[in-house]
Amino acid sequence: MRRILNAAVWMSLFTLVFAASPLLAQKSKPAKIKAAAFQVEMIQSDEIKLPAEFQVALYENLVRQLEKKGFSHVYRDGDRNAPSVANLVVLHSTVRGFKAGSEKARQVTTVSGATSITIHCQFTRPDGTSLLDQDVNGKVRFFGGNLRATYDFAKKAANAAQEHFSTTGPE
């Protein structure tokens, strides 16, 4: 009887520890930074040669995905209305790695021909103050054209933005 009681006590202790840890982790999450609007700069690829269609697809998908994540004011590179917006966050993206891959190889072999792209995303204020630096990658392994990697990247980058920024929050 005592054994069973002991086991029950230990079980409840373990449950408490494991259940409480995620709750504690949530508390320690940093507060989201206020971003009334985003301005997406054109993707830079000075060191790595990136085909023009990839550059444009990355940029367009990024704008679209940020809009989908609920950021209603997403300004494009060079938009004259952007500088007047308070709490603007500028997204600079620089290509760090690119593997073109092959759609044909993917379709024929399934295992080879993956397209991958790694981009360094830097979220800053218009004055250059850095808010967040993160490497984000985009991949297409099995199905879809090579440009699908740009969609994958954009989704991940927009998720990172949603995770760290909010339209309502501390400045």
């Binding site: 054109m42 269609e53 550059q55 444009v56 367009e60 494009r76 004259r80 024929v108 021909g113």
Partner: protein, 176 residues
């Protein structure tokens, strides 16, 4: 037995003919080319089929009765490239993936070459946009030349004709 093998040969030959013939029907009226807007054009869904032509200082993408125009003078960069796509695509291409003995994969080996046309342009507020089109091989350079003649800018003014370039060209076969 002989007639059966003849039928097989004829069947295979007609399949190949079917794969090759669409490339021949590529061009329409002079200056107008069939194109697919892959992404980027404002108000147009991705992968929309239509026709592309240049006139009155504008790039027109017409799909059905609707038309999207981009002023040539607002175009900051025009770049052409090469690509290839599955000869048998769409629903049939998707269904063929379920074919036994890797039949669908064999079909993936048959590909048609296409041209890509990428443009970067600015809207009225100065915001940068980009758009990607695919079109039959050999037609992207024609559109590019017309755009440049009507005031568009380009960072790659003298590109070799996509048809003439080999598969080793850096611009070609970046995507397969």
């Amino acid at each position: 037995m002989t007639s059966r093998s003849t039928m097989v040969v004829v069947g295979v030959a007609s399949l190949f003919a079917g794969l090759v013939m669409p490339a021949g029907n590529a061009q329409q009226a002079p200056g107008t080319v069939k194109a697919v807007q892959v992404t980027g054009l404002s108000g147009v869904k991705d992968n929309t089929k239509g026709t592309l032509n240049v006139g009155n200082g504008q790039l027109h993408f017409v799909r059905g009765k609707a038309s999207s125009d981009v002023t040539a003078a607002s175009i900051q960069d025009v770049v052409t490239g090469g690509d290839s796509q599955r000869a048998v695509g769409g629903t049939i291409g998707l269904m063929s993936m379920a074919a036994p003995y890797g039949g669908g994969r064999v079909l993936s080996l048959f590909r048609t070459k296409i041209d890509t046309l990428t443009i970067k342009y600015r809207d009225a507020d100065g915001g940068l946009h980009g758009a990607i089109f695919t079109m039959p091989v050999g037609t992207a350079d024609v559109i590019k030349k017309e755009l440049v003649a009507q005031g568009a800018h380009t960072t790659a003014p003298a590109e070799p004709t996509p048809v003439a370039t080999s598969s080793t060209s850096p611009n070609k076969e970046q995507k397969q």
